[in-house]
């Protein structure tokens, strides 16, 4: 369902990777609607498909990957059917990405100034006064002294400062969607809180939507309006952040929250999710979580549950969601 308020719609996305061991079903029927001006969190464990979902939006999947089905609609256009030239105009301009490790996404041999100019010139941005624009962008991401930053090389800046610069570059063409793939994972907690606050401020100031990918539930809770939980290549639950975290409907989400050591008294046993993440070459039939789920019944192993409304605005893909018998 495409609503008028959504900026980007991912519909029935299916992605496979060809590997030596066989075909890996990386994404299975992903449906995601990113609303205008929202911060949507995408959370899941290693290998659940968070990053490839983001990369598929911009058709930046690795060579052995293939999108077999699905659409990514933005302004009525399917991004997946566009050619490289058209995509080049979208990438960085309408949809931009910030990655986990800023020291590897910035070029070590160029100054910050030249890297920022690079982005502006490659998208033919209409800038009347370049110096002013650079100054403004760096101030927007929280630098007090932009001139000094512009003349620096990446190695002269701390990790947090580098990530701010990466954000400034991503914002330079006023994108409508900013994808932030684990933007704070390489940073300390204090810096992390600052970057998360910055993302919120950017959203408030520019009205851009942000897709925030993280494996850290706390990060998502602090920054996001809505959250989608991924497990083994599919979205199992999506809804307003406080609802999902306070009353998780899917047993996987619940298991994850329980496994956090935050509330557990010292020395007590942490509840764990039994079993381990399935291989995506031979994924379990039906619900991919059923072999690990304490509430699984026969239907769970036969049929794949679809995302169904659970509470207003809160969807879950489960035959036996929490609170229903």
């Amino acid at each position: 369902m495409t609503t008028s308020q959504s900026l980007l719609d991912v519909l029935n996305l299916k992605l496979i990777f060809r590997t030596v061991e066989g075909t890996l079903q990386a994404l299975d029927d992903i449906e995601l609607h990113i609303r205008r001006g929202e911060i949507l969190g995408l959370v899941g464990e290693t290998g659940s498909g968070k990053s490839v979902t983001a990369l598929s939006i911009l058709k930046m999947i690795p060579e052995n990957g293939r999108i077999v089905e699905g659409k990514v609609l933005m302004h009525g256009n399917d991004l997946l059917t566009q050619n490289d030239e058209e995509l080049r105009k979208i990438r960085g301009a309408k949809v931009s990405i910030v990655f986990q490790d800023p020291s590897s996404s910035l070029n070590p041999v160029y100054t910050i100034r030249s890297q920022m100019c690079d982005m502006l010139s490659s998208h033919d941005a209409q800038v009347t006064n370049l110096e002013n624009r650079l100054d403004e962008l760096l101030r927007e991401v929280g630098f007090q002294n932009p001139t000094r930053i512009l003349d620096s090389y990446p190695h002269e800046l701390s990790g947090g400062m580098q990530q701010r610069v990466a954000l400034a570059i991503a914002l330079s063409c006023s994108p409508e969607l900013l994808i932030a793939d684990e933007p704070t994972t390489a940073l300390d907690v204090v810096t992390q809180a600052q970057i998360l606050a910055l993302l919120k401020r950017i959203r408030d100031a520019t009205g851009a939507s942000i897709l925030l990918i993280s494996h850290n539930l706390g990060v998502v809770a602090m920054a996001c309006d809505r959250v989608a939980v991924m497990y083994a290549g599919s979205i199992v639950e999506i809804g307003p952040t406080d609802q999902v975290f306070r009353n998780p409907a899917h047993h996987y989400t619940k298991g994850l929250l329980n496994a956090l050591p935050r509330m557990a008294p010292k020395g007590s046993k942490l509840p764990v999710i039994s079993g381990s993440i399935p291989s995506l070459i031979n994924p379990p039939s039906g619900c991919r979580f059923h072999p690990r789920c304490p509430f699984a019944t026969e239907i769970c192993s036969n049929e794949r549950p679809k995302l169904e409304p659970y509470r207003p605005g809160h969807l879950v893909a489960c035959y036996h969601p929490e609170g229903e018998s």
Binding site: F143, V189, Q192, A193, A197, N216, M222, K266
Partner: protein, 333 residues
């Protein structure tokens, strides 16, 4: 003394050089750290990148020689040990690191990795080796069939279990855990933390748990020290420190910890640190001064030592300079 490990006024400085052998200054990576760990207890050490946590760990393992200070293992200074005594001390202190894929030799099978310390220390006749390996693997929750697998064939959690089995093989008294769960997923982290708790309960090993994840430390440690730029700035029983964080830095750190209950909370108020970290800490006075939200004039000139906040709870902040000070705090006075 009944302490398992005592660290007394430990300092490690690194020379900064530019050009060819030209000394331009020193970095005080560890700057006068003192603490002690009791047997069967977990001592947590927290702090940001570059605060000296790992340098401190390396000194305790005697991988690097400190500039000054003492590290005593069961009363013996480890830096004066030689020969067999040193070998024994090495056996008694083991370490587990953040990324098992990097700390385990990719060309050795799980069984080889686990038995390597046993072979080095000749503690076991060859005939009993296999049984010991299987016993260790069971202890850490690995199947016998995984013994012939290489690290790349195992998952991150399984590799970390191999690293734990390897550390346990020599029945150490103290295990140094340097961010042991940082590279693992939440559900696997819970499994590893459960395993470590279980091991401590059964064998009474002491842990030095280094982490930047405060929620893990709150759950796991008995005693907690917060480091900032080479110093311990707050120290106390873990639950007391979390309940009553006294140093402004600890307060900043705790308020920045992401938590699933903090949905929709306004972040701006909590983050008071300046956006740009300083290139060099101040020469004089409190090192936290430039970032401190409650700094006073005297903080610019006086370098705070640890003052007693409560009986076992200490903070290096001039807010408490009317309290008694301690040079060498212990965890059981």
């Amino acid at each position: 003394m009944s302490e398992l490990l005592e660290v007394i006024n430990l300092k490690k400085q690194f020379a900064l050089r530019s050009g060819v052998f030209r000394r331009t200054g020193t970095v005080k990576a560890v700057d006068g750290v003192s603490f002690s760990i009791s047997p069967k207890k977990t001592f947590g050490l927290a702090g940001e990148t570059g605060c000296g946590k790992t340098t401190l760990a390396k000194c305790i393992l005697r991988i690097i020689q400190p500039t000054s200070g003492e590290v005593k293992l069961e009363g013996k200074d480890i830096f004066s040990l030689k020969g067999d005594e040193l070998k024994n001390a090495r056996r008694n202190v083991q370490a587990i690191f953040q990324n098992p894929l990097m700390s385990l030799d990719p060309r050795m099978t799980a069984a080889n990795l686990i038995s390597e310390p046993l072979k080095t220390h000749h503690t076991l006749p060859k005939s009993k080796m296999y049984d010991k390996i299987i016993e260790l693997m069971r202890t850490v929750g690995l199947d016998e069939e995984q013994s012939l697998k290489y690290p790349h064939e195992l998952s991150g959690g399984q590799n970390q279990r191999v690293a734990i089995a390897r550390a346990l093989s020599l029945n150490p008294r103290l295990i140094l855990l340097d961010e042991p769960t940082s590279s693992l997923d939440v559900s696997v982290q819970a499994q590893i933390l459960n395993l470590l708790t279980e091991i401590q309960r059964k064998s009474g090993i002491g842990y030095l748990f280094i982490s930047h994840d405060l929620s893990v430390l709150r759950y796991f440690s008995d005693f907690l020290a917060i480091m900032y730029l080479g110093r311990i700035i707050e120290l106390g029983p873990s639950d007391v420190v979390f309940k009553n964080p006294s140093h402004p830095y600890t307060q900043l750190l705790l308020s920045s910890v992401p938590d699933v209950t903090l949905t929709g909370r306004n972040l701006e108020v909590k983050v008071s640190a300046p956006a740009e970290m300083l290139e060099s800490p101040p020469e004089k006075g409190c090192k936290f001064y430039p970032r401190c939200p409650v700094r006073m004039d005297k903080c610019k000139t006086i370098d705070p030592i640890l003052y007693q906040v409560e009986s076992e709870h200490h903070a290096a902040c001039l807010l408490f300079d009317n309290r008694p000070s301690v040079f060498y705090p212990t965890s059981n006075p």
